[in-house]
Symmetry: C2
Subunit: 139 residues, 2 copies
């Protein structure tokens, strides 16, 4: 039995038993992507971590809709050298289905999102698009 | 009924029905921390993503033991401006129980881990310690 036939058989069984037939994530042809938004540590700069966590991030997630699977938020503690400042005072990752889906979902709301940044910081964020190579390692 | 009495009542009901009584993660006194290791994009520099994913990262995870809950790995695609290079050619996050636990687990293996870096890149990584504010948002 070939791979396709085997897969069809499993799907048939799963459908009969009303199981989910979605293939495991590893078999996705297009890997997920991550949009990292990083706020460089700047002495004396303002950053309202509570507003960022409670208001800004949920608002952006809502605007991104199905393009964004979930997000993470970090607050910088320290750099690699003992006693050094962190590279970023805060950063987040939006895990999304594709770069194109992220841009299509964000662009209509880019002005609103950009305007809201002033409500929690005066730091200009740095953006990076990445391919998710390992979403979450096994324990 | 006060908050403690209400909680006790719920616990009592849960125990009777053999439900889990673990408090939600948000009530943990010590938040998880994240150790980010970021490799700045450098034109012409070498980075073996396959070795990093398949050999280096699992080795480090093994050496960190119970101090590290799991890790993530990203491969840089682009920066925020259209057509720009990513800030980091690769980066990873080790989600750990505490900074102290990470350092205690890593320090005996720091030389071995450092030596292995030459096997996949000639870029000097940048480190950051962060507090995990939102580990993974709700969908």
């Amino acid at each position: 039995m070939g791979a396709q036939a085997a897969y069809d058989a499993v799907v048939s069984i799963a459908e009969r038993w009303s199981l989910t037939t979605a293939p495991p994530v590893q078999q996705q042809e297009s890997p997920m992507i991550k949009v990292s938004v990083m706020y460089p540590y700047t002495a004396g700069a303002r950053f309202d971590h509570a507003y960022y966590r409670e208001t800004h991030m949920p608002m952006v997630k809502q605007r991104l809709g199905a393009a964004c699977l979930y997000y993470t938020v970090d607050k910088g503690i320290a750099g690699g050298a003992p006693g050094s400042a962190p590279v970023y005072v805060a950063k987040c990752d939006f895990v999304c289905v594709s770069v194109e889906a992220f841009l299509a979902a964000r662009d209509p709301h880019a002005q609103e999102i950009g305007r809201d940044i002033a409500n929690y910081t005066d730091i200009q964020p740095v953006l990076q698009f990445s391919e998710v190579v390992v979403e979450r390692s096994e324990v």
